[in-house]
Symmetry: C2
Subunit: 201 residues, 2 copies
């Protein structure tokens, strides 16, 4: 039985190791690159090599950076009394895209997920506590996702920060823009009720 | 507004150029590689570089190969009177996995798809005609997909090969193994009827 040449088989095998890419997709990607876009194969190879060499974690907030401190931590004009706590770098970028938050960040790189065997030690929590203990921070805004693990992590972190005496808040939970009441689930609706705001005396 | 560091942005941009990978998936892939699996980033980079350098098209049948002739064309023990015509290398591998066909192949690398602006010149058809004209081939088995374009290409190629006086056949069309009659579409059912085989005198 004939198969693809070895170098292509290896490329398919490497692509298959990526999350959410199965063998069929990996084969299609490899064929696309070898048949239709060899320039992309070369520039993707180069971009991978470069990124692995250049990108590391910011020593202070653990966002991704090419220098010891990331662009945000190097910016002296932000509000150094506020810290926004996110799970992963993509969440930080999502908050930055809104353009309203002006404080600094702390990226946990994980959540407290006992069912997945991830305890508090799987997060950059120790470093957060050290930053808070160092003083100067008036409020930590917990911006974890509104999932079971995001909720559990928020409660867990809030308790620890409470013991340190620092103000801790969490992003509002409720009906998203464009969301129809009829199709809102019970938990969302319940949280929207308890978090309601007065709009007229 | 802060964003990912430049080397990661470039990696995301390169991943986004792959078919069926959008910006969100590209970001997730880049983060996975930089955060959880740097060894894979490096070996994928190396596999891409190697594949682009090593893999080319077989000079005779246009399957993928690391040598001038592919492993199949280099094998002298196959039946050199039969040629199986397929659209792309993945189709050849699918036929090989069955393990029954013992002849050689010809990979078209395209189909006749006027609606997509692909004429006969987008396929390796000229080379097929030359191979047939060179003589010795008793039958060409057209194994294109049973799609509009696969059908059109089969008809088109069969007419040309008919003029050259070579026997041309096409894979049987009918109900697939496990297929329920109730849910078969009309064209499949119609083709299954006209292609029926006698099972008892």
């Amino acid at each position: 039985m004939a198969d693809f040449p070895p170098a292509m088989q290896r490329l398919i095998a490497e692509f298959s190791r990526l999350p959410s890419i199965g063998e069929k997709s990996a084969t299609r990607l490899a064929y696309y690159l070898l048949n239709s876009n060899r320039e992309l194969a070369q520039s993707l190879s180069e971009a991978l090599r470069k990124a692995v060499t250049a990108v590391r974690l910011c020593e202070r907030c653990f966002f991704l950076s090419e220098e010891p401190l990331c662009a945000i931590c190097r910016n002296p004009n932000r509000d150094n009394t506020t810290l926004c706590l996110v799970e992963k770098p993509m969440d930080l970028v999502a908050v930055e895209r809104v353009g309203e938050y002006k404080g600094y960040y702390h990226v946990l790189h994980g959540l407290w997920a006992p069912l997945k065997g991830q305890g508090p030690e799987s997060m950059r929590l120790k470093e957060l506590i050290e930053r808070v203990k160092a003083g100067g921070i008036a409020e930590v805004i917990i911006a974890t996702s509104s999932t079971v693990e995001g909720d559990a992590t928020a409660m867990y972190v809030a308790r620890i920060l409470g013991e340190l005496g620092v103000k801790t808040s969490r992003l509002a939970q409720g009906i998203p823009k464009g969301g129809e009441l009829e199709y809102s689930d019970e938990i969302t609706l319940s949280r929207a009720f308890s978090g309601r705001s007065v709009i007229s005396p």
